[in-house]
Symmetry: C3
Subunit: 127 residues, 3 copies
């Protein structure tokens, strides 16, 4: 059910981008009860000019390796679950493909269960 958009600067190999996608998915499965097969993502590369970030907001030092991860998912996770997600996702990205913790920006957009169709024109999660 999450639909994930991952945005980063162009120039990394496909394996690097794939590792980001895998980390996002693994962190969601481990921390916020996302089903293991529920894996849907769009990764986009952008020119240097077209990803704009502040290099020091909240006293966090960012570089051009910044990654924006925007996750649309069902509402209802607690703040503690979200905290666990952020922490685990950064741990995994540090390990592989090797991203600085400071360079990971995460945003969640919550929607209702009836707001998804995963194929066949059915409201997959509606009661």
């Amino acid at each position: 059910m999450p639909l994930v958009r991952i945005s980063l600067m162009q120039g990394k190999p496909a394996s690097y981008r794939a590792a980001i996608g895998a980390a996002v998915h693994k962190a969601m499965v481990e921390t916020i009860n996302v089903p293991p097969l529920d894996h849907f993502q769009v990764i986009t590369e952008h020119p240097r000019s077209d990803i704009i970030y502040d290099p020091a907001y909240l006293d966090i030092k960012r570089t051009d390796d910044v990654v924006f991860i925007q996750i649309t998912l069902n509402g209802g996770r607690t703040t503690e679950m979200k905290r666990a997600l952020y922490k685990r996702l950064v741990e995994l990205l540090v390990a592989e493909p090797g991203i600085r913790p400071e360079d990971v920006l995460i945003n969640l957009v919550e929607v209702g269960k009836e707001n998804w169709s995963f194929g066949n024109g059915i409201a997959s999660y509606a009661q």
Copy 2:
């Protein structure tokens, strides 16, 4: 008022992408009271490596022709209206450009009426 993002793998002709956009719009007009002229969409093509989907989540068999359709719209539609949208949208996509029902993923993101400006710096729908 809907702002639609359509993501698919690269390699299809522009006419194929246009048919997807037209189907999404027609389905919304028919099922959830979207005005016929209220037509705003961004379609993006992506390399094979950068659209990630599970080929069998919820026992639905997906292929590389998978299309992700994310619609930001005003809240307030009933679940029945959303069901009708999903069903009609898939019917239309099967007819033209010819997409398998299993390959259509739809997600709705709902916002408030005051969250739109359609030009001239005016809150188009706010009271």
Copy 3:
């Protein structure tokens, strides 16, 4: 905290795109209390075929210079603040890079404070 997605047709120079990004940020700082360093945006260019807009919806005459600005931000701004944002953003875009007021589409997506991590795997705004 806003994460901004700006979509326009391809063919404008990078300086034009940068001016749009700067205007969006300045308008948010001036009207809705966004911190000056809180600046995170993704700008994307698209072929003519892949940005779809109605040229007359709500009797507003749009051209191929249309720009879609989608802002994900914390909920809680009043409608008056949103009105001020739309108005100021259009004023700034008219001045630089020189966009017609009719060509500016703005959409806000509101989320909870706990839905952000700006680095280090921390929920930056959660209590």
